[in-house]
Amino acid sequence: MSVGDYIRGSQIWKSIFRHPAPYDRRNRVVVMLTNFFLHLHPVSVKQQGIALSYTWCMGGITFFLFLVETITGVLLMFYYRPTLEWAYQDILALRDVTTLGIMREIHRWGAHAMVITVWLHMYRVFLTGSYKPPREFNWVVGVLLLVLTLLLSFTGYLLPWDQLAIWAITVGSNMARATPVLGHEGPGFQLLNLGGYDLITSGSDARFLLLGSRFVGEETLNRFYILHCVAIPLAAAGLIAIHFWRIRKDGGISQPL
């Protein structure tokens, strides 16, 4: 008996996988039904539905990049402190001295790649008309995921706390100052006033809500850190679950109707 057969026959292995290895047709069906990770997929699909030149694989790559970002992001969190005193120093250390500091490179390039793959996924779904009934709502969920991807990338952009970071965020968040009614330089902000006192000032408008301050400062760093590492990933994970579940419920992978 070979070592492989001994391991596959052991009680431990059987307790994990509950059935023989997927070498024959029956077990290839069973593996899809009993494995937690694989049960996202159906047991069988149409051949053309998974052809690379048809799907471009961009949705799958986006999800994989989300996982890569989560793993490298958690590793980076062990080394990074979101304070004015330490943020830049910790990134310097990641660059120069920390073992596996390349996690920062992978995290950053993965983030750029994710923005591109999300766009291309949307491009493919549009060009194949896959948003049409019954998948209308899943397209809407997809647009929300696109927004979250951009926000994840945007909030992460600030964390290195270098010139590139704060000025990109300053330029980006200056827009919020001009929000109609809710920004202190937006049209109609005078509408919200109480007895002649403006309720919307530079210290209480939409931009202040975003930055936690009148300018990009320590409060902003903290706010963006929490958004980047906790709030948006959680929201994205929830929407991804819905997105995947709806693919199955809305008739599976896109196909000629």
Binding site: M32, Q47, I50, R124, K132, V171, Q190, L257
Partner: protein, 471 residues
Amino acid sequence: MQVDPFIDPHPNLTPAVLQGLGWLYLVLCAMNLWWTIRVYREDKHVMVPVLNIELPRATFWALYTSALMIVGFMHVSWTNEDYIDRFPLVLEPGGPFQTAIDFVVANPVTYFMISISGTIAVLWFRKFLVQPTVGWILLNAAVLFQALSMTDYDFRQIVGKPDNVPIVALLYLVGGFTWLYFYKAVENDRRLAEWDGEGPIPVLENDENEKVLVWPDLVYSELICMIAITTLLIVWGIVLEAPLEEPASSAKTPNPSKAPWYFLGLQEMLVYYDPWLAGVVFPTMILGGLMAIPYIDFNRIGNGYYVFRQRAFSIITFLVGFITLWVAMIVLGTFLRGPNWNIFGIYEYWDVHKLEALNNVMLSELFYLDWFGQFFDMPSYGNDDPMGKKVSMILLRELPGFAVIGIYFVALPPLLAITCLRTFYQRMGYLRFMVFTQLLLWMAALPLKMVLRWALNLKYLVNIPEYFFNI
């Protein structure tokens, strides 16, 4: 050209650049070797006109591939710094090629005209472009253009920036996938035109479409894909260090200050619209419009396969939106916008002192001073005037602008419903049609404002700085 930084701080060629380009040419050579073998296997011949002999088509590709190999090896072996200024394959700085390209791209008018007419040309000549040979030649032309341009110092400064590398990748990916789409759509169009309506729809996606088990067919390709992406990220991470500039300082404003690259389309919009529109209203409309697509596209056919003719209107709208108004704007914002948000050519030095004459006018000024100055006076008010007079004077002053916008958003939709979009109106119903036309008009609002700016120097249609309300 000397490499010594004390003599020339902006060298066009360095040994490192030549090395990198050499590898690029060798990769291109390997790709063309594969292509040559492919063409050779097809076994097609062409008559050479003057010599009157018949040669396999692969001959010409073999010659080209050999030339690429020689060029590649020439780059990697040209390492002696004393001879680097005699390297033959370099774009002449300020030469006719650079001047011509910069003349075209360093001008928002020609840039936009090229991106929109390029989109139209792709749609019009799609049957020609989807031939594999044409696609391959275009890919080669793009790589050769980029490789030659990399011999220019200023081009490298902007395209070689670590954070801009994804945009170059995006261009190749969007180009490649758009080609792939048309390749399939043209074939499906042809098949559908010949279809008699019997049996299953005869699209490419229905050929050999048996059910297969997910394990192993899909699971294994996913695994291979994951490995490929992981490898790509690791190699990318090793080759290119993530950017880290000086520590943040709120006192030193960089010039230009740019948002992250994926928002540069919106930042470019700031040239034409105020922040409350470009930064708040337009993004909201874009996202709302995207979400609305499945509910306003009443066309039920064309689900699950690549096709053009059955869905021509929606495809054209999306291509214009995605390629002309989004990707091309990002390229403009990233590669061409320099200090003071001035526009620079791709081979041009980013001169902080470059001056561009700006004398923008308001529609109210055009109306009350230029066009009808002899009939009306510009409405005005004093600081001591009561609120009511101030507001009514402002409204009167901006009446022409409000009229234009009113006609555009209120009068145009019903007009479209009874004229050129009549069938749309009948099939969509009132509410759907109104949402659809509003979104379409918002999308057209950016190019229209561009045209007004270029033609009339118009800054605002409605200009009420008193209330931060400028359109």
